[in-house]
């Protein structure tokens, strides 16, 4: 049977392992046992030494690298990382989980790209590892994990509010009764059997809840715990001198993530091929953005400029595929010396602000600081590299949010129908424009060839 710490390294078994074997002094030494487990993992590629983690430190980096490449690299091959799904690796994996989490926590802020990838990697590992466990065993493991993670018999929905806030679970996807999330079949039958007419209640349970919801909750909880752990490390890091090898590992993690992103951009885009930063195509702006650029009246003015336009223009210009890639970046990852930000993006936003009635900065000069903050450079008059990371680079709000907060700006047209965010509108429209205008361009190209 698979050990629970294979899935939940923050469990007491996991902590036990670390207490026994988790000294930081030899984490970069070659570990023969680890090498053996890796080599013997089913379908693991071993042709190249770089596939094989040699030490705890290597493994810590590999855990994050695996996920970054899986997301970004078209040439990602699961067999490069098959060892991650091998239960034999549990002990090593637990220790390297702590090493990776501590490295990330010491070096990076809790909302950094590195932290996020570490957390998401853990979530993905839980999902994939559970998937590989044969179903007759999985049921028991899932139940045990759940017991370990929640202390009451039933989970009050209010206790998983953090997960709801993360938007990975919709409240509407859970079955709730009397304030509790219904997870167990017996409980389900007790409460609803009599109400269900015309079909077997048990099947209804399997369809509506089953293992699916349990696994969803387990995964989200483990991710949340990972996040909390990294935060704790981060808070403590200011008080204690960090172990130098942890800092080294943190740098390696960043390096690997950057590599994976460059794989992505060099392997050419998917739909639309618009992965790279490129000139703005004004004709592809959705109605809400067009309206904002023309200037907004007093009621919606501040939010339209500071929240909607700032995030839209910056992402459209620098990182239009943020939602498809689903990796958060910093502006300087793309615009290294901030030349585009200062010379193209900000002027567009400031001009629109001036066209508002009354002009935004006239009665709210501090909104300039807020615009800088929304670009990820903290509360300062102008974006500067040294301040980057003090705040988050805000992603454009969804159409749904716009409809609530800025309803007067949303005047949907045909393209709006199938999209949920102005940025997706932009990508789609740009692609459509290119497609329809594309033919003539190809003609031109051939002409030039002649």
């Amino acid at each position: 049977m698979v050990s629970l710490s294979f899935l939940n390294p923050l469990s007491s078994e996991g902590e036990e392992i670390v207490r026994e074997k988790g000294s930081l002094d030899h984490i970069s030494d070659i570990n023969a046992e680890l090498l053996m487990v890796v080599r013997e993992s089913e379908s693991q590629k071993i042709s190249n030494d770089s596939y094989i983690p040699q030490s705890y430190a290597d493994l810590a980096v590999k855990r994050v690298e695996w996920y970054a490449r899986k997301k970004n690299d078209k040439k990602y091959n699961h067999n490069d990382y098959a060892f991650l799904l091998n239960p034999e690796i549990t002990e090593f994996d637990v220790i390297s989980f702590y090493i990776a989490a501590q490295s990330v926590g010491i070096k990076f802020k809790p909302n950094s790209r590195e932290t996020r990838l570490m957390i998401e990697a853990q979530g993905k590992l839980v999902e994939e590892r559970l998937e590989k466990i044969p179903s007759y065993q999985r049921k028991e493991i899932v139940d045990n994990l759940l017991n370990q993670l929640v202390f009451e018999d039933n989970i009050p929905w209010t206790s998983i509010a953090e997960l709801l806030g993360s938007k990975k679970i919709r409240l509407a996807d859970l079955i709730l009764d009397q304030g509790e999330v219904i997870l167990e079949k017996d409980d389900f039958m007790d409460r609803f059997d009599e109400k269900i007419i015309g079909r077997p209640s048990e099947k209804m349970y399997d369809l509506l809840i089953g293992e699916r919801i349990k696994i969803m909750i387990i995964t989200r909880m483990i991710m949340q715990n990972t996040e909390n752990y990294i935060k704790r490390v981060h808070d403590m890091a200011s008080k204690i001198e960090p172990h130098p090898s942890l800092l080294q590992i943190a740098d390696q993690i960043t390096e690997k993530i950057n590599e994976s992103i460059s794989y992505y951009s060099s392997s050419g885009g998917g739909f639309g091929g618009d992965i790279k930063a490129s000139e703005l195509v004004h004709e592809a702006f959705p109605p809400c953005i067009q309206k904002t650029i023309e200037g907004v009246g007093s009621g919606n003015r501040n939010d339209a400029i500071v929240l909607l336009l700032t995030s839209f223009i910056s992402y459209a210009r620098l990182y239009p595929s943020v939602f498809r890639n689903d990796i958060s970046m910093k502006i300087s990852d793309i615009d290294a010396d901030l030349q585009i930000t200062i010379n193209e993006i900000l002027p567009l936003i400031y001009d629109a602000a001036d066209r508002c009635t009354p002009p935004l900065f006239e009665d709210d000069p501090q909104e300039k600081l807020n615009i800088t903050a929304k670009l990820g450079f903290g509360v300062h008059t102008i974006p500067e590299l040294k301040n980057e990371g003090e705040s988050k680079w805000y992603t454009p709000m969804s159409c749904e949010k716009i409809k609530i907060h800025l309803s007067s700006l949303c005047k949907p047209d045909a393209t709006c129908k199938n999209i949920g965010n102005p940025l997706s509108y932009y990508n789609r429209k740009r692609w459509e424009l290119r497609k329809s205008g594309g033919k003539s361009k190809t003609n031109e190209d051939t002409k030039n060839d002649e």
Partner: protein
């Protein structure tokens, strides 16, 4: 009825009729942690950041100023005079009769009919808050033009806007429910179809009840996104099936493709049942129960028995009854 009140009438109200003792307990408790706001001239609450340490201070303020409108924050602060050091906020749902996406009266402002429809929606929401969500410390306030549902269960008061918006969508039926489900060991097979009306509990049941309310109140004059006149007519034509609970037949009459769009549109329409801005704003101020809604000359008041509440009997101030045309 529903006419604005004069300054003279306001003075009379606050001197003769209003009593600070009648403030609901949930307001009196921790009074000094809330921010108060006032509208003196009828153009919005711009006298804000006020605090009252004791009930007597409110009493005096109301008597002397007789404000056009009075508000207090749903938030509790350590420093309410600067909205600083936020502690927690009530979870609120604002159901305004004037803004209901579907109302059978078609009146300009509010009237008996839409006020009553707002009350029915409040009852539905209340049922979900108590039943599905297991919440207990819930207060209903008649606002003068609709209702505020104010939840003070400790567990929900620290929620951020994100979670509040999820709860909002749940209780108002603003998510299209899933209708395709897969079994774990049959992932490659065709998913099962299970429409919301076949599931008599949980969110699907909430959605069903909200949609039923809408269907029964549609007049045919509405403009609903993605529902054309033909579909609107058919909905009205077959709504007796919904009334009898025969949703399967109703869906057949509408047709599977149109039904899918109908469900989508309805979930979007339901977003308008409750004013979302109010629910997700942690620092809102809401009309103070017991105060006068001067625009319509009605009392804003806590409603203990919402099943039988009739604002035209219980929320009319004396000075209105004594008006010549009453």
């Amino acid at each position: 009825m529903f006419e604005a009140s004069t300054l003279e009438e306001r003075r009379r109200y606050y001197r003769e009729e209003w009593n600070v003792k009648e403030l609901p307990d949930f307001i009196k408790k921790d009074l000094n942690k809330r921010e108060f706001g006032f509208d003196h001239l009828g153009n919005g609450p711009n006298d804000r950041y006020r605090i009252f340490k004791t009930q007597d201070m409110i009493r005096r303020f109301m008597r002397y100023r007789s404000p056009f409108a009075a508000y207090c924050s749903i938030a509790f602060y350590n420093k309410p005079w600067q909205r600083g050091d936020w502690l927690k906020s009530e979870l609120v749902f604002d159901v305004d009769a004037k803004d209901l996406p579907i109302r059978s009266c078609n009146c300009e402002g509010v009237c008996n009919i839409c006020l009553n429809e707002a009350r029915q929606i409040v009852l539905l929401i209340l049922d979900t808050l108590r039943g599905d969500l297991g919440l207990k410390d819930i207060h209903m306030i008649y606002s003068g033009r609709g209702y505020h549902i104010r939840v003070l269960d400790e567990e929900v008061m620290t929620f951020d806007s994100e979670v509040r918006s999820q709860v909002l969508k749940y209780v108002s039926g603003a998510e299209a429910p899933k209708n395709k489900y897969v079994l774990e060991n049959e992932v490659d097979q065709k998913p099962y179809e299970l429409e919301h009306f076949l599931i008599p509990f949980g969110y699907p049941a909430v959605f069903t009840s909200r949609v039923k309310h809408s269907i029964m109140h549609i007049t045919g004059k509405e403009k609903i996104e993605n529902i054309n006149t033909k579909l609107l007519k058919d909905i009205i034509k077959y709504r007796n099936l919904v009334e009898k609970g025969e949703w399967g037949l109703f869906k057949n009459k509408i047709g599977p493709i149109r039904y899918k769009n109908f469900v989508e549109s309805m979930s979007q329409l339901n977003m308008g049942i409750v004013d979302a801005k109010v629910s997700i704003d942690l620092k809102r101020i809401l009309r103070l129960p017991t105060s006068l809604h001067s625009k319509v000359s009605m009392k804003c008041m806590e409603v203990k028995n919402i099943e039988n509440f009739d604002p035209l009997k219980e929320a009319v101030p004396k000075f209105v009854m004594e008006r010549k045309d009453y």
